[in-house]
Amino acid sequence: MDETPESPRARLFAEGRRLPASAARVGTPTRGPGEWSQRGPPLLPVAPSTRVVARLASAWVIAALLGVAAPAPAAERVGNVLVLYSYPWRLPINVEGDRGLHEAIRTSAERPVLVCDETLDAPRFGGPAYEAVVVKYLREKYVAKAPDVLVAVGDVALDFLLTRRTLLFPGVPIVYAGVDQKTLQSMPPLPAGVIGVPIDHTYYPTINLAFRWHPRAHRLVAVTGTSEVDRRIEAQLRAELPRVKPGVTVELLAGLPLDEILRRVAGLGQDAVVWTAGVFRDGANQSFVPRDVVAAIAAASTAPVYTSFDTLIGNGTVGGYSPSIYGIGRQAGEIVNDLLDGGAPGTLRLPRPLPQRLVVDWRQARRWEIPENAIPSEAVVKFKPPPLLEAYPNDVLVAVLVALLQTALIGWLVVEHHRRRRAEAVREVQSLELAHASRLAVAGELTASIAHEINQPLGAILSNADAADLILESPNDRRDEIRTILADIRRDDRRASEVVRQWRGLLAKHALEPRAFDLNGVVRDVESLLRAEARRRGVALRIQPAPTPAETVGDPVQIQQALINVVLNAMDAVAGLPDDRRTITVPVECVDGRVTILVRDRGHGIAPADLPRLFEPFFSTKSGGMGLGLAITRTLVESHGGRIWAENGPGEGARFHIELPAVRGHDDAPPEPA
C-alpha cells in the first residue's frame, strides 16, 4: 500500500489533459503543477461539498450501525496511517509533500507503521454518488487495517474526513496538512482530535520582488483560469493587491483561451512582468495541468514570468515566494509520529507554520539579467550549475593536477631553457673574457721575450743609423754603404712591426668570427711567438707542419692560445733538464676527418694520479700556477668541437693532443706554401 508516486495507480490518477508537446517544451514533463497546499481548499466548493456530506451522512451512519467495527488503536500491533489526498496523485505538489511525509514517519521493528495512501482525485471526480462510493470503498477496504491516524492532505480531504469521520473512522485523530490558515478561519471550529499546522501563503511578496528585480517594469500581467481553483487563486490575488507596490498597473488575463493568453504574453515589453499560478481550465473550457500551462506561458512570454508556487519553478518561471511543500509534509509526518507514540492530540506541541521562502531558477535569473547580488542569500537557488569541483570532484582534481603538472613542466622547461641559454651566453662571454685575460697573463709572463724580440731589431736600427751618421761625416763618398744600411734599417723595422702585429693579434680583444683556417699556420705563428721565449729558456721548439693544409673552422687566435698554453706547459716540464731533453716537438696531422696538433716533450711526464684532473680549473702541479691555463685550453678546444687529452708518451715525456674537426672538400685547395 505504501506506493510510490510512480506506481501505475499514481499514473492512473494523473490524467489531466496534457498540452501539445510544442507548447510544453519548457517544462519537465514529469513534474506537473500542483495545488496541494497553497491555500484554502481549492477544488471543491465548500458549499456543495458540505451538501454532499449531508446527503451522504445517513448512509455513513447506517453503515456504522451495521456494525462495521471501528478499529481501536492498539499499541502492540502495527500502527496504521491512512493518508487521504485531495487532488490527483501525480501533481508535483502531492509528490513533494508525500516525500516529506513518508520520510518523516518513523517505522521500526518495535513500532512498525503501515502508511496507506488514497486520493479523492478532486476536482476531476466529485459529487454525492462518487463520495458514497469512496466512503464504502474506504470502509470496506480498511476493515482489517483500521487506521490509527488519518492524514488529510488539502482542504477537500479535510472537509471530506470531517464530515464522514463518525461514519468512517470514529475517534481516530486527524492530522491535516496543506490547509491554508485563511481557509481554516473560514471553517467552523475544528472538533477535538483534529490537529495540524496550517500554511501561510501570500502572493504579493513575489510580485513586489519582481518589480524590485525589474525596476523599469510597472505593469503586472496576472494569468489565471476559469476553474474553481483558478478563481480562488484570483480572489486571493485581488485581496492582496493593496499590498503590491504602488503605481503598478494590474492586468488580469482571466477566462481567456490559452492561445489568446499566449498571444498576449508574447507581445509584452520591458515594462511588464507576468505572474501566474497556472491555469486549470481556460476560457475555452479546456482543462490543463497548470504546470504545462506555466511552461507554455514562460516560453511565449517576452516578459519575465513569476509564480508563487515552488513546484512551478523550473519550467521557465524566474521564481517566487512559497512555503516548502516538502517541509509541510514533514511537519505532518512528525505529528503522526507523536500520535503513534501515544500522544494525545490535545496535548501535542505543534510547530509554527513554515515561513515562505524564495525559490529562484538560476537560469531564468541569468536570462533576465538579474544581478547575482540582488538574490538574497537565504534564497533557494535552483538549477545553478554546481561548481565543477562539486559535480565531478575526482575528475576535476585529476584534471587540475594534470594541468598543474603540465604547467609546472612547461614552466620548468621554459625556465630551464632560458636559464641554459643565459648561462651559455654568460659562459660564452666569460670564456671570451677569460680567454682574453688568460692571453694577457701569458703575454705578461712572456714580457721578457717579447721585449727582446722587439728590441733586437730596434737595436739594430739605432746602431745602423748611428753608423750611417758617422759614415756621412767621413769625407769619402760612401753612398752605397748608406744604401745598404738603409735597407737593413727597413728590414729590421719590418721585423719589429711583425712582432708587434703578431702579439697584437693574439692580445687584442676581438669578437668571435668563426672561419676556416689552417692549423699549420697556427703552429707557425705560435712558433714565431714563442721563439724568443724558447731561446730564453734554452728550449728547442720544433714544429712539424702537415704536408697538406690542415683546415678547421673557428677562431684561429683561440686555437693559437690553446697551443701556446700547452707549449708553455711543456717548456715548464722540461725546465732544468739537460740540454738534449729540453726539446718540444709539435707535429700537425690530418687523420680521418680530424686534424690534430701533438705537443710532445721529453720531460718527466705526468703523474698518473694527476692525469684525470689535468684540465680541471684550479688544478695545478706548479707552485705558482693558478691552474687555469689548461682549463681554459680545454674550453677553447671544446668550443671548436674538438677535444684535448694528455697522456704519457712511450719512454719519456708527456703528449698533449689537440684534436679538431677537419674541414672537408678542400681537395682542390692550393698546396700550402712551404
Binding site: 728590441n455 730596434l458 739605432l462 746602431s463 745602423n464 753608423a467
Partner: protein
C-alpha cells in the same frame, strides 16, 4: 802584446751584429763578431787586448755562462752586456761577475762607447798590473831561498845586523844578499824593495802558490 784593442761582439742576431760592428768600425774600433759563445771561444784571439760586448741570450751557453767561464779561466777580458731585455737577477749576476756595464738594446751610441772606453781602460790597467806582477814573480823565482829569507826580513824593516844575527850569518854576507836581491828584482833602493814586497804580498794566494 798588440797595441790595438779588439772589441768582440757576441750576438746571435745577425742583423744586430752587423749593425753594431758597422758602427764600432766607423767609430774607430777594431771589432769582430761571433754568433755564439762557442764561436767566440774557438775563434777569438785571446792574446790581444780588448773587450767583449755580450748578449745575454745565445743559442747554447748563454752570455752569463760564457762570462763566468772566462772568469774561471782567469781571463781578465772586460765584458759589457748588451741585451734586448734584462731582468734584475741577470743584471745582478752579471755585475757580481765583474761586468763593466749592463746595457739594453737599443743602445745610445755614446753610452756604448763610454762603456767600451772604460772596459778598455780597465783592460789596459789589468794587463799592466798583471805584467808587473809577472815580472815580480819572475824575479822572485830567481831568488835563492836564503835571498828570499833576507828579502822577507828587509821588508819587515830589520837592519843588516839584526838580519845577520837572526840568520846566524855575517853582516857582510847579508849586504851581499841584499845587493843580489835588489839586482834580480831590478829595484834601486831599500824603500823600493819594501814596496815591491808589499805588492808581492798583495798578490793573491793562488798566484803565489801556483807560481
Amino acid at each position: 802584446m798588440s797595441a790595438t784593442p779588439l772589441v768582440h761582439v757576441v750576438d746571435d742576431d745577425e742583423s744586430f751584429r752587423t749593425a753594431l760592428l758597422r758602427l764600432l768600425r766607423e767609430a774607430g774600433f777594431e771589432a769582430r763578431g761571433y754568433g755564439s759563445a762557442g764561436e767566440f771561444l774557438l775563434r777569438a784571439p785571446v792574446e790581444r787586448p780588448g773587450c767583449l760586448v755580450l748578449d745575454l741570450r745565445l743559442p747554447g751557453p748563454s752570455g752569463l755562462e760564457l762570462h763566468e767561464a772566462l772568469r774561471a779561466r782567469g781571463s781578465t777580458l772586460p765584458v759589457v752586456f748588451l741585451t734586448g731585455h734584462a731582468d734584475v737577477p741577470a743584471v745582478v749576476r752579471a755585475m757580481k761577475g765583474g761586468a763593466v756595464e749592463f746595457l739594453t738594446k737599443p743602445v745610445e751610441r755614446e753610452a756604448l762607447f763610454e762603456a767600451l772606453r772604460r772596459a778598455l781602460e780597465r783592460e789596459t790597467r789589468q794587463r799592466t798590473a798583471s805584467g808587473e806582477a809577472a815580472a815580480l814573480l819572475a824575479g822572485w823565482k830567481t831568488l835563492t831561498p836564503r835571498e828570499r829569507e833576507v828579502l822577507e826580513l828587509i821588508a819587515a824593516g830589520k837592519h843588516n845586523k839584526q838580519i845577520a844575527c837572526e840568520l846566524g850569518i855575517a853582516e857582510r854576507t847579508v849586504k851581499l844578499y841584499r845587493a843580489n836581491t835588489m839586482a834580480k828584482l831590478g829595484v834601486g833602493s831599500a824603500a823600493e824593495l819594501g814596496r815591491m814586497v808589499e805588492r808581492l804580498r798583495h798578490l793573491s794566494e793562488e798566484m803565489l802558490t801556483s807560481a
